[in-house]
């Protein structure tokens, strides 16, 4: 999967990236939308999208030119009336799951959701075992050793 993903990534990105550094940033890369409600939507979405060229930063936290372009895409699409979820899906279709910080349940990510449920069960089990039983007061039999 990763191979075609990279192929897609490269073909989509190679040309614009090569030119990017010398080009001025897209209009909405460093400018907000006029409507505060739409801007809030865009900002919330941008905080959950990964800057693909950076290390562990969202596109809302990055100076990389590519993050600027992605911010422009997000703001422009929000302005055009697209829903944040539709934009996220569009970006995932383009760049893969990696672009979204919000993992969705899928064949590759189910443990991320199964393990917390398991942890809840374990926590409940441990607490019931340690605290659930009515302990008789002053029973120090086990403390002798």
């Amino acid at each position: 999967m990763i191979r075609w993903l990279f192929a897609v990534l490269l073909t989509v990105l190679a040309l614009p990236l090569a030119a990017q550094d010398s080009m001025p940033p897209a209009p909405y890369a460093y400018n907000q939308l006029a409507d505060p409600r739409l801007e809030a939507e865009a900002s919330a979405l941008m905080h959950t999208l990964r800057c693909l060229k950076c290390q562990s930063q969202s596109i809302a936290d990055s100076d990389a030119p590519m993050a600027g372009d992605m911010r422009h895409q997000v703001r422009a699409r929000i302005l055009a009336g697209e829903s944040p979820e539709a934009i996220r899906r569009w970006l995932i279709a383009r760049y893969g799951d990696y672009v979204s910080y919000e993992p969705e349940v899928s064949s590759t990510t189910w443990p991320l959701f199964a393990v917390p449920l398991l942890v809840i069960l374990i926590v409940a089990g441990v607490l019931l075992r340690r605290l659930g039983k009515r302990r008789s007061d002053g029973d120090d039999a086990g403390a002798a050793a």
Binding site: S58, D61, S62, Y101, T108, P116
Partner: protein, 661 residues
């Protein structure tokens, strides 16, 4: 020559670690009444080893201070034109140097333990020192075999490559040393736990020895994380203070484990309960420290912090990690059955609340661990997944919210067994505060759920933190209790800051022509001018922003866009205007073609409380250490006096006839 002395000191220290290990192990093997001739060497070996390892570190520090370009490490990471303070801090701004710092702190804490700790039974001490020597040996081997910091170049370099500009900040002077000292302080807790387990001495006396080490390590971790968070906040230029970056998580995980351990060890010291828990958490805490070191130092992560990439080293640390954690868990599995659970208690008791919170802390730790390691795991199978704030925040909150609620109530409960009805007024007050604040805030606007919950909990915790003082004479409250009160209050303060930042932050991004004004919150920000300036190893465009609050007197902020030339890299130096109720955060970006400048301004209400809270938590920990130490010293003095008096009485009794009674 100086560098060779450093290298020799490291080899000698490694040899002494072997002696310490052998001597400690032989003491253990000797039967009761026997003494092994080698047994006397464990303590001196630890102390001398500490001096040698610290000496090696100081020699490397000197090499960086004078920019000795015949050393490979200096040539690749330093530069003669760098400001002096960053030459010094650059010593640990790289892989080898930071590992040497790690090992130096490890040896120093082992030496302190050997030199000053006289309360433990000699056998337990010997086992502890053996374990400490074994741990140190692994890291000496790592340093000497795969990361020699004193490697020479055949031909000295003409000039160094310089240090990553993001690291050229006073943050590098504070954050890594504090954090490392915390990481490594947990190694002593680990060794003590192993020593007590091996010699079957898991009891309150042991807990009292372990407690200052755990508290100390925890305070350092707290302060290190706080400093790191503030550093990232002002340095990265986008106003974020926590990114759930794997390296941040690597420091958070030991902190979570240490927090649980600290509470557990207090229960063991006070009540002789939770014996196996304490040992288990001792193993877990240091395992998390080593895992953190592995994640950061192996280059397995691709993140802003990982400035070392080398698979061979990664495999080495992973081997050490497996050896120590695996070994510890094996000993634990073999011996845990022999350690009784300790005194029993009811669910509604202070122990009960502490157990609940320890379980919750461990669960949060599990979530952070999963979210940090899972992407690495899938990457090995060629599937790239991102796990970020939208995952960590809600998944962590599932456990953090009940934990914080119990934290508010726990200190009010009595040891062993209590009736909830006894504290019904306090319970009602806490519930009313949570619900009241959430209702009040929701009345004024639409806010995300987690910050809203955070505000409610912060208010309740802030009040609940002081409830244990109710009805007590403040002058007679023990110092350690003040420590707890202040640390818990610090959690509330920090939570308040996080929630406010999450709910009320305002952001303004705009292209501004010189003379133009942007409005954000109560502030009018005018871009007066942008001028080029030069520093010792950078040039920059500096903006003059005049900030007027409600039309008042202007305050000048000067954010810079810096370009470093070695290595070539640009950074944004943010400018901060700190008010009692928040911070104005300003950054200058690039110039557009029409001559306007990108300006980014945030108003972050009460964001500073995040770090004030962190400082309060650290202060609480320090007060606890001081209070406990004073009580321990007093108790020891009293018991020596008592023993003296008994001996005197006995001596009298032997001489004189029995007093009539």
């Amino acid at each position: 020559m100086i560098a060779e002395i450093g290298l020799a000191a490291l080899w000698l220290a490694a040899a002494l670690a072997v002696l310490q290990l052998v001597s400690g192990a032989l003491t253990l093997r000797a039967g009761p009444g026997q003494t092994n001739p080698l047994a006397i060497y464990a303590r001196p070996a630890a102390v001398v080893q500490a001096f040698l390892a610290v000496l090696a570190f100081l020699l490397l520090l000197r090499a960086f201070a004078v920019t000795d370009l015949s050393l490979k490490l200096v040539a690749t990471n330093s530069h003669s034109m760098k400001p002096f303070i960053y030459k010094l801090t650059g010593t640990w701004g790289n892989h080898e140097g930071s590992m040497l710092l790690w090992v130096g702190v490890l040896a120093a804490s082992g030496g302190m333990l050997a030199a000053f700790e006289r309360r433990l039974p000699e056998r337990t001490m010997a086992a502890t020192l053996a374990v400490q020597g074994f741990v140190a040996l692994g890291f000496y081997a790592f340093l000497l075999l795969s990361s020699n910091p004193f490697e020479r170049l055949a031909v000295p370099a003409a000039e160094g490559n310089g240090l990553n500009p993001l690291l050229q900040d006073i943050g590098l002077a504070i954050h890594p040393p504090t954090l490392y000292a915390g990481y490594v302080g947990l190694s002593v807790a680990f060794s003590l736990a192993m020593g007590a387990l091996l010699t079957r001495e898991v009891n309150p006396a042991f807990a009292r020895v372990m407690r200052p080490w755990v508290l100390g390590a925890w305070v350092l971790l707290t302060l290190g994380i706080t400093a790191g968070s503030y550093w990232a906040y002002y340095e990265l230029g986008w106003g974020g203070w926590w990114f759930w970056d794997p390296v941040e998580n690597a420091s958070l995980m030991p902190w979570l484990a240490a927090t649980a351990l600290m509470h557990s060890v207090s229960v063991l010291a006070a009540r002789d309960a939770l014996r196996t828990w304490t040992i288990m958490l001792g193993v877990l805490a240091f395992s998390m420290s080593m895992l953190g070191t592995f994640l950061v130092r192996s280059g397995v992560l691709t993140s802003v912090h990982a400035f070392a990439v080398d698979p061979e080293r990664g495999a080495f640390i992973l081997g050490l990690l497996g050896l120590y954690i695996g070994g510890a868990l094996t000993i634990f599995a073999l011996r845990a059955g022999a350690v009784a659970e300790g005194k029993r208690f009811a669910a509604a008791s202070r122990e009960g609340a502490l157990v609940f919170n320890n379980v919750m802390l461990s669960a949060i730790l599990a979530i952070v661990l999963l979210g940090t390691l899972y992407p690495l795991l899938t990457e090995a199978f060629d599937v790239r997944v991102s796990v970020g704030p939208p995952y960590f925040n809600p998944a962590g909150a599932i456990f953090a919210v009940p934990m914080l609620l119990v934290m508010a109530v726990g200190p009010l409960l009595r040891w062993k067994s209590d009736k909830p009805a006894r504290i019904q007024f306090e319970l009602a007050l806490i519930a009313a505060l949570v619900i009241g604040v959430i209702a009040l805030v929701s009345f004024f606007g639409q806010f995300p759920l987690l910050p809203l919950l955070g505000l409610g909990l912060a208010a309740a915790l802030g009040v609940a933190a002081f409830l244990p003082l109710r009805g007590r004479t403040l002058a007679r409250v023990p110092v350690a209790t003040w420590g707890m009160v202040i640390a818990h209050f610090g959690i509330a303060v920090s939570l308040f800051g996080m929630a406010c930042e999450g709910a009320f932050s305002e952001e303004r991004l705009a292209a501004v022509a010189p003379g133009g004004t942007e409005q954000i919150g109560d502030f009018a920000v005018t871009l007066e001018a942008v001028t080029p300036i030069a520093g010792p190893n950078w040039t920059a465009m500096e903006a003059r922003l005049a900030v007027r609050q409600n039309g008042g007197e202007p305050v000048i902020l000067t954010p810079q866009a810096r370009s470093f030339w070695s290595p070539p890299q640009s950074t944004s130096e943010s400018a901060l205007l700190t008010k009692w109720n928040g911070q104005l955060y300003a950054v200058i970006g690039n110039q557009a073609e029409d001559g306007r400048w990108q300006v980014r301004v945030w108003w972050k209400p009460f964001v500073t409380f995040i770090w004030y809270g962190g400082l309060l938590i650290g202060l609480g920990g320090i007060l606890s250490i001081v209070g406990r130490m004073r009580v321990d010293l007093k108790r020891r003095a009293a018991s020596t006096m008592g023993a003296q008096r008994r001996a005197d009485v006995e001596a009298l009794g032997a001489a004189a006839p029995q007093p009539a009674e």
